[in-house]
C-alpha cells in the first residue's frame, strides 16, 4: 500500500470545492435566457379533474407559459414506467396503471402534478401557479395498503382491480408448511416496517435546455444515474432520441436511492423548454420533496419461524403487504421481491423458506428504493424474529444466532442467493468485544440504581450488493443490464482521466477511484481525474445505487487499467529493447526487472502519442475502455449492537453506545468506508427512533411534509459510533470488494428495537419507537 494507494486513508480530492462553496449543483446552474418553473399540484389525494382554467394565470406578470397534461399528451410524451417486470404466482404480469407526467384526467395522491407555469422569476411562477383554477371532483382515498386490499375500498387504477399490482411468491410453500407443522417451537410475529422519506439534503432539481437550431436537448438533473435517465427518457417517454439528448448530473447532494428514478419534473422541464422556447429550471422545495420524492419501506408482514428441539431454524414463512403508493416508480417492483425475499435466509442455514408478497396501490407518493431497498425490511423482519425466538426459547441471542450461522461457503439458500464468502462469527465476536457484552449486567444494575432501564440488542445482517450480473437480473425481470463501464485515457503528458458510468453524490469516487490508479501505476492521485455524470463525456453507465460502485464500477476500471497496462508495457519494452514480460511498473516508471533500465510513465505516454517509435503495427495513443459484468451479487455482512437507556418516566431512549462490525471485503479507503457506515447507521437510527411518513387515513393529506413534522436525526439525537471491519475478500470481483453504502441502514434498526424491548421488558413495539410509544409499552409491561 502506498500513501495514496489501496487501503490508505486519503483525504478527499473533491472536498476543497465543497468546503469553499464552489460545488456545482443543479440549482446553481444558470444559462442565458433561463426561466423558472412552478408546478400546480393536486391538493386532493384522489380526484377527477373536471376542468383546468389557465387564463388568469397566463395574464399574470412575467408568465411565459402555462402548460397542462393534455398538451403533453398531444405532443406524444409517454407514460412513466416501472422497469422491472414481476409476474404473480398465477403467471400474470404485474398490473401497471398509467402514470402521466402531468395528470389530465385523475389525480391519485396529494402532490400529483396538474399543470406547470414558466415565468421570469421563481416568485412570479409561484404566484401564477396559485392562479391556475382546477375544478376537481373529489373521490374517496385510501392510504393504508392493508386496507386498500379490502373489499369496497377506493380503486386507484382500472388496470389493477382490488388495487393489487401483483401477488408474488418465492420458495417452497409445501416444504415450509411441513417443517412448521413438525417444529418443536414456532415464533410468530407481525412486523411493520415504517414508511420513510429519503431526504437527501439537496432537493431534486432539473434544468431543461432546448436548442432549436440543432433540435437538441440538454438536461441538468439531480440524478444518481444520468445514462439511465437518458435511456428511459428517450426510449419510453419520447422526449428526444438519445443522440439529441444530453443528461448531466453535476454535483449531486445525496441520493440514498431517491435520485435513481426518473420523475415527471425533468421530463416536463425538457418538454417545456421547447414549448416555451426558453431554458426552464425547476427546483423542488422541501415540502414538494416530501410530497413527490419516492418514499421507502412501508411493509406489513406476518412471519413464522420454526425451530427443532436443538434450536436450529427449520423453516421461515413470510407474508408481506407492500405499499407502492399511487404509481409504480422505476424500480419499485424489484424492491419487495428480488431485493427482499431473496435475503430472508439472513446469515442462517434455513432449509425451507417461503415468502408471499402482495404489492398494493394507495393514494400516497410512490414508494421505491431507499438506502438498502428491501434488505432493511428483510433484516428487520428476521432479526426481530430471531431475537424474539431467543427470548421465547430462553437462549442467549448470540448463542441462537451462532447455532444457526452458515459456516461453509459457497452456500446456496432456498431463495435464489448463493453466498460466496463470509465469516459471520468473526463480526459477532468483534461486535460483542467492542460493546463489552459481558459487562452489560453490571451496567444494567448501575442504571437501575438511577431508575433507568438499560437494554442491549444485536442484529446480524446480510445484504446482496452490486445489483448484477446482468443475465441474472434479466432473468428476474430487470429491463436493463446492470454492468458498469469505464474508460481510461492516458494523456500525452502522462496524466490520466478515468471516465466512469458510476456517479458520485457523496461517496468520494474522485478520491477512491484515483487511489486505484495510483496503486496500479504509482502515479500521484493529483495526476488522475475522475470524469462522471455527463452522457456526452461517458458513453454509457448504469449509475450508483445498491452499493455497486466499488464492486462493479471499480472492477470495470480495473479491466480498463489491465488493457492500458498491457499496452504501456509493450511500448516501454520497445523503447528499452527489452522483453515485454520483464517490464514492471513501480513508482510512476516502467522498469526492466532486475536492471537499472527504466522509462518514466510520462515518457512512455508521450511515446504513445508522438508515435515516432512504436512497436510495428501498434496504433498510436493510450486509451482503453471496458465493460464489467460480474458473476454474482456480493454479500456484505456484519453484526451491530445497540445499548440504550430508557427513562421510564418519559419514555425517552438514549443510545448509550452503538457498535458496528462489518465485513465489506477489501477496502480502498477506510476513512470513506467508515463515513458511509456512520451515515447509514444514522438513517437506521432515524427509522428506529424518529422518522415516519404519516398520511391522514381519510383525506390522504401528508401530515409530515416539513422538517417541523418529520423528525430528521440531528446531532444531539445520535452518539459517536464504534466501527470495525472484518475482511473476507469477495471472490467474485478482481478487487475483492463487497460494498459498504447501505449496511448501516440495514443492520441498525433491529439492533435498536431489540435493545429497547430488552430494556422495557415488552416486545410489542413498532418503529419509530418514539418516547410516547416506549413510555406506553413500558407502562403496559408493568414498569
Amino acid at each position: 500500500m502506498g500513501v495514496e494507494g489501496i487501503g490508505a486513508r486519503v483525504a478527499r480530492k473533491e472536498d476543497k470545492r465543497f468546503l469553499m462553496g464552489q460545488g456545482r449543483y443543479t440549482d446553481d446552474m444558470s444559462v442565458p435566457g433561463m426561466r423558472y418553473a412552478a408546478f400546480v399540484r393536486s391538493p386532493h389525494a384522489h380526484a377527477k379533474i373536471r376542468s383546468i382554467d389557465t387564463s388568469a394565470a397566463k395574464d399574470m406578470p412575467g408568465v411565459i407559459a402555462v402548460l397542462t397534461g393534455r398538451e403533453m399528451l398531444d405532443d406524444g410524451i409517454g407514460n412513466l414506467i416501472c422497469g422491472w417486470m414481476i409476474h404473480s404466482k398465477d403467471g400474470s404480469p404485474m398490473k401497471m396503471g398509467a402514470w402521466r407526467p402531468i395528470a389530465h384526467e385523475t389525480v391519485r395522491y396529494v402532490g400529483d402534478a396538474v399543470a406547470v407555469v414558466v415565468a421570469d422569476s421563481m416568485g412570479e411562477a409561484r404566484d401564477a401557479a396559485e392562479a391556475v383554477l382546477v375544478d376537481y371532483e373529489v373521490l374517496p382515498a385510501v392510504t393504508d395498503a392493508v386496507r386498500a386490499l379490502e373489499a369496497g375500498q377506493p380503486q386507484l387504477h382500472p388496470e389493477a382491480p382490488g388495487n393489487l399490482i401483483f401477488d408474488w411468491q418465492l420458495g417452497d410453500s409445501d416444504a415450509t408448511d411441513a417443517a412448521i407443522a413438525a417444529a418443536a417451537h414456532v415464533t410468530e410475529m407481525r412486523i411493520v416496517n415504517n414508511r420513510l422519506a429519503p431526504n437527501p439534503m439537496e432537493p431534486r432539481a432539473a434544468l431543461g435546455i432546448y436548442d432549436s437550431a440543432e433540435d437538441h436537448y440538454t438536461c441538468y438533473t439531480t440524478s444518481q444515474n444520468p445514462h439511465v435517465a437518458r435511456l428511459v427518457m428517450s426510449a419510453f417517454y419520447n422526449v428526444a432520441p438519445e443522440n439529441k439528448l444530453r443528461v448531466i448530473a453535476p454535483d449531486v447532494g445525496g441520493g440514498f436511492g431517491s435520485k435513481i428514478f426518473i420523475y415527471p419534473e425533468e421530463i416536463v422541464c425538457l418538454w417545456a423548454s421547447k414549448r416555451a422556447g426558453v431554458p426552464v429550471k425547476w427546483t423542488s422545495d422541501r415540502t414538494e420533496a416530501f410530497l413527490t420524492d419516492a418514499h421507502g419501506r412501508d411493509h406489513v408482514s406476518t412471519v413464522k419461524m420454526a425451530f427443532d428441539a436443538d434450536n436450529r431454524i427449520t423453516a421461515l414463512k413470510v407474508d408481506t403487504i407492500a405499499n407502492f403508493g399511487a404509481y409504480m416508480s422505476l424500480f419499485s417492483s424489484s424492491v419487495p421481491t428480488y431485493l427482499y425475499a431473496t435475503l430472508l435466509s439472513g446469515q442462517y442455514a434455513i432449509p425451507a423458506i417461503h415468502a408471499n408478497v402482495r404489492a398494493v396501490y394507495t393514494n400516497t407518493a410512490a414508494v421505491d428504493a431507499y438506502r438498502g431497498a428491501g434488505r432493511p425490511e428483510a433484516t428487520y423482519l428476521l432479526e426481530r424474529t430471531v431475537e424474539t425466538a431467543a427470548r421465547e426459547l430462553g437462549v442467549s441471542p448470540a448463542e441462537l444466532r451462532r447455532i444457526n450461522f452458515i459456516r461453509a461457503f459457497p452456500h446456496q439458500t432456498p431463495v435464489i442467493m448463493n453466498y460466496d464468502a463470509g465469516d459471520y462469527e468473526a463480526s459477532l465476536e468483534a461486535a460483542m468485544a467492542a460493546a463489552d457484552w459481558n459487562g452489560f449486567p453490571a451496567r444494567k444494575a448501575e442504571a437501575a440504581s438511577r431508575g433507568m432501564k438499560r437494554g442491549i440488542g444485536m442484529s446480524c445482517y446480510i445484504e446482496a450488493c452490486g445489483i448484477a450480473p446482468s443475465a441474472a437480473v434479466g432473468s428476474l425481470g430487470a429491463g436493463v443490464g446492470l454492468w458498469e463501464s469505464a474508460e481510461v485515457r492516458v494523456n500525452a503528458v502522462g496524466t490520466i482521466e478515468v471516465l466512469t458510468g458510476s456517479h458520485s453524490h457523496g461517496q468520494g469516487h474522485e478520491t477512491t477511484f484515483a487511489q486505484l490508479v495510483a496503486e496500479r501505476f504509482g502515479v500521484p492521485i493529483d495526476s488522475v481525474s475522475i470524469v462522471h455524470g455527463d452522457t456526452d463525456k461517458v458513453q454509457m453507465g448504469m449509475g450508483t445505487y445498491g452499493s455497486r460502485s466499488g464492486a462493479v464500477g471499480m472492477s470495470a476500471i480495473v479491466k480498463a487499467l489491465d488493457k492500458v497496462e498491457a499496452k504501456a508495457k509493450k511500448i516501454a519494452a520497445h523503447l528499452m529493447e527489452a522483453d515485454e514480460s520483464d517490464i514492471v511498473i513501480e513508482n510512476g516508471a516502467l522498469k526492466v526487472a532486475g536492471t537499472d533500465k527504466s522509462v518514466p510513465w510520462f515518457q512512455m505516454a508521450l511515446a504513445a502519442y508522438t508515435a515516432h517509435n512504436l512497436p510495428s503495427g501498434m496504433e498510436p495513443g493510450l486509451k482503453e475502455g471496458a465493460f464489467y459484468d460480474p458473476s454474482n451479487f456480493t454479500f456484505p455482512a456484519g453484526c451491530y449492537i445497540a445499548e440504550v437507556e430508557v427513562d421510564p418516566e418519559t419514555g425517552k431512549t438514549t443510545i448509550v453506545q452503538f457498535v458496528a462490525a462489518d465485513d465489506f471485503g477489501n477496502i480502498i479507503n477506510p476513512m470513506i468506508v467508515e463515513g458511509q457506515v456512520h451515515g447509514g447507521i444514522a438513517q437506521g437510527i432515524g427509522q428506529a427512533l424518529l422518522e415516519g411518513v404519516h398520511y391522514d387515513p381519510e383525506t390522504g393529506q401528508l401530515l409530515t411534509a416539513s422538517y417541523m413534522d418529520y423528525t430528521m436525526p440531528r446531532a444531539d439525537d445520535l452518539p459517536s459510533f464504534k466501527v470495525s471491519h472484518q475482511v473476507t475478500p469477495c471472490p467474485g470481483n478482481p478487487l475483492g470488494i463487497k460494498g459498504c453504502g447501505e449496511a448501516g441502514a440495514i443492520g441498525s434498526p433491529p439492533a435498536l428495537i431489540n435493545a429497547i424491548t430488552d430494556a422495557i421488558g415488552n416486545n410489542d413495539l413498532t418503529m419509530p419507537a418514539t418516547p410516547q410509544k416506549v413510555w406506553a409499552a413500558a407502562l403496559a409491561a408493568g414498569n
Binding site: L19, M20, R286, G679, A715, D716
Partner: protein, 163 residues
C-alpha cells in the same frame, strides 16, 4: 422593488430586488454566490447559514432588505488567499463532509460556535449547537470530530498569537 446595499465578503454590493427577496436568494441569485444553499422551507436545515455582522444567521429567515447595510460573510469569503480556514481544513482532514450540500452551513455554524465557545467546546456542546444544521450523509460523527479538532487547533493558535 427595492435597492439593497450591503457588504458581502468584504465587497460593497448593491442590487435591485423584489421586496420579498430573502437574503439567501439575494446571495445566490443576485450575487451568484451559490455556495450558500437552500435545503428546506422552514428554517430547519441550516444549509443557508451565513454570518451577518459577525453572528451566524439562517439567510432564509431574513429578507435581503433587513440585511441592508450589514456585513455579510458567506462560505466563499471564509478561506483567505486560497488557504482553507482551519475549520474547513479540519472538515477535510476528518472527512466531515460527503455530498457537500449541508457543508457550507455546517462550516459557518462551526466557525460561529468556535468563536463563541473556543477551546471550551466538548462533544455534548457541539452536538447541542448543531441542532439547527441537518446532515443526511455523515451521521454527524465526523462533523463533531472536525469541529472539536478545529476548536483545539484554533485555541492553540490563539494562545500562540497571544504569547
Amino acid at each position: 422593488m427595492a435597492k439593497v446595499a450591503m457588504t458581502v465578503n468584504g465587497r460593497k454590493v448593491s442590487r435591485e430586488c423584489e421586496d420579498r427577496t430573502l437574503l439567501v436568494h439575494f446571495i445566490r441569485d443576485q450575487l451568484s454566490l451559490t455556495g450558500t444553499h437552500v435545503g428546506c422551507d422552514t428554517s430547519q436545515c441550516g444549509a443557508c447559514v451565513v454570518h451577518m455582522d459577525g453572528k451566524a444567521v439562517k439567510s432564509c429567515s431574513i429578507l435581503a432588505a433587513q440585511a441592508a447595510g450589514a456585513e455579510i460573510l458567506t462560505i466563499e469569503g471564509l478561506a483567505a488567499n486560497g488557504e482553507l480556514h482551519p475549520v474547513q481544513a479540519a472538515f477535510k482532514a476528518n472527512h466531515g463532509l460527503q455530498c457537500g450540500f449541508c457543508t457550507p452551513g455546517m462550516v459557518m455554524s462551526a466557525v460561529d460556535m468556535i468563536n463563541r465557545y473556543g477551546a471550551r467546546l466538548d462533544e455534548k456542546t457541539v452536538r447541542e449547537n448543531l441542532e439547527g444544521n441537518i446532515c443526511r450523509c455523515t451521521g454527524y460523527h465526523n462533523i463533531v470530530k472536525a469541529i472539536l479538532a478545529a476548536a483545539a487547533e484554533m485555541g492553540a493558535a490563539g494562545r500562540q498569537a497571544a504569547e
